[in-house]
Assembly symmetry: C2
Homo-oligomer: 340 residues x 2
């Protein structure tokens, strides 16, 4: 019907206006700024219906309308076209990310870039260890009974663990151990590393058996843990911008939730490089995020997500723009990491 269509058009106009002005929008202003071809009175009727359906609401009896979470959801799902990035933005991405010297640097630049493009808080996850493969395992003896184990993954992460041995270790055994570990785990994804241990123990010469067992278990226990997923956060200063307006209580619980990385990592759990995921307001399970929206996407090749990245901001945000920025940055980062 023509009616329904226009009503959706009204909702789109409300979202757009409200996002850009931060004022509840009334029927008159709507008729002036968008050529919907109808009078304010008609718009009022549409608004009444939209309100009844739960897409918009009014803060006070005599104020304009504001989109609800449900309204934003409809907007994101059906009313927004992907906004192409400007040339300046594309250039900014390249300029920002080129010249990074290592993974830490790449992700640090990424988070600053995202924060700057979207003017929101940006979060970037390190490539998950479990989905990474072992490129090299280095073993360094740091004391008679203590080894330092350094894991280098194909995604560029470097992790270290101290391994204590109950008995002193013969320095001669270290190179041997290194060779053994690398031939067993080299190229193996960490998630599959557990399967290799029995074979490794079988082939281990007797004098190394105990050591290999100790090292393997440390490897599995501490490195395959999902708790080892890391996060970089940036642009928190953006929260201080319209804070009082966008976050009723205070930004405090939100900042606390962000520092509590687990919360964000859980949200990141579902990312996938092909689709941008948007969680709006109450859709976020965590209480501190109920007045915030989370836009995220996976990065990496399409077959294999290395990790996720995204932004967190008020529900009143520029969804098309932010979704485009998040997606573009993720693609570029994915390429960059695939090269190295």
């Amino acid at each position: 019907m023509a009616h329904d269509e226009r009503r959706l058009e009204v909702l789109r106009a409300i979202v757009q206006d409200y996002v850009s002005t931060n004022d509840p929008v009334g029927s008159k202003a709507l008729a002036e700024r968008h050529d919907l071809g109808v009078s304010p009175a008609t718009i009022r009727n549409d608004m009444a219906v939209l309100e009844e359906q739960g897409y918009i609401t009014q803060p006070h009896t005599s104020a304009g309308r504001v989109p609800t979470d449900k309204g934003y959801r409809l907007f994101v799902d059906r009313l927004s076209a992907v906004k192409p990035l400007s040339v300046a933005e594309r250039r900014a991405i390249e300029r920002f990310l080129d010249g990074a010297v290592d993974l830490h640097d790449v992700l640090g630049r990424t988070v600053r870039l995202l924060a700057q493009l979207t003017r929101q808080v940006a979060v970037v996850q390190y490539p998950t260890l479990s989905r990474s493969a072992v490129r090299h395992l280095e073993v360094v003896q740091v004391a008679a009974g203590r080894l330092l184990l350094v894991l280098i993954t194909d995604t560029g992460r470097v992790e270290q663990r101290v391994v204590d041995s109950p008995v002193d270790i013969d320095p001669e055994a270290v190179p041997e151990l290194r060779t053994l570990l690398n031939s067993a785990f080299g190229g193996v994804k960490l998630v599959d590393a557990g399967d290799k241990v029995p074979g490794l123990l079988e082939t281990a010469p007797p004098h190394l058996y105990g050591l290999v067992a100790t090292v393997s278990s440390t490897l599995l226990e501490t490195l395959v843990e999902p708790s080892e997923d890391r996060l970089v956060i940036g642009g928190t200063a953006n929260l201080a911008r319209g804070s009082a307006l966008d976050f009723p209580g205070s930004v405090r619980p939100l900042l606390e939730a962000l520092e509590e990385q687990v919360v964000v990592l859980r949200l990141m759990g579902e990312v996938d490089p092909t689709t941008v995921l948007v969680r709006i307001g109450e859709e976020n399970a965590h209480e501190a995020l109920t007045s915030a929206s989370f836009v995220s996407v996976g990065y990496g090749s399409s077959e294999r997500a290395l990790g996720g990245l995204g932004i967190v901001g008020p529900t009143r945000m520029d969804y098309p723009g932010n979704m485009a920025a998040v997606r573009a940055v993720a693609r570029y980062v994915g390429q960059l990491l695939a090269e190295s």
Copy 2:
């Protein structure tokens, strides 16, 4: 003189009251809450003098007095005794930091601990590379003409760099290169690494000469840079507490300055493990910090500072408590890192 002494006592009382209540403090309240042995009228006279000397000021004509930066400075220098940490606090430090699996983990726990103890923003610097010594250098060939160089320091930091070689590298040469690098740089502080290069090049066999030169220069260029100093920041949620009261404009510039790690690193430049450094308000060169105070100290052994840590908060803060917390945490972290 007895006069001067009592006047200082009045200043101390003002600072203490103001810090705990966040209200400008008047002569009457002061006389009630501290037994200074004199009447409000006398206190008023003292306050007039203190104001003339620039230690306190009144926000409005008819409000109580508030300490100035100069007043806090005097308080910190002469009027405050070191506040011993409570048993619960000491226990919290141990509980928090024990069980850390690597450097990253230690520093992450440290920053959360400090933020929690002081209820301020905490900053912790990674051990500076330039003052660290090489424990091990690992070389991994990742492509025909590309090496991955992994540096492990005695302070537990692990850094990686990709080195591109103009010509393909013989895989046989890699172990040789590794041995050469480790014997040249092993145990050497990075700040002195430059001096070892000529000797290294002299002893390098001809077929490795080019490679050794390339690797050495990458090492020096990218790893000895002070820009390689890193920072962990936590507890920013604490800024949202009394923000409007304590930071006139907004917390935004402060958050921006914190994310701009350079600013904080510059402040950290002067730390030393034996004395707690306090910078109050305008004493901080950077504009965004002029309404903030910075309390910092070095960690590491007394001969050798590995890095610095500290807190940033409003000038209206509990200096004795925060100084004690910062110092205690630094000592514990220093011990922890010395062990490993």
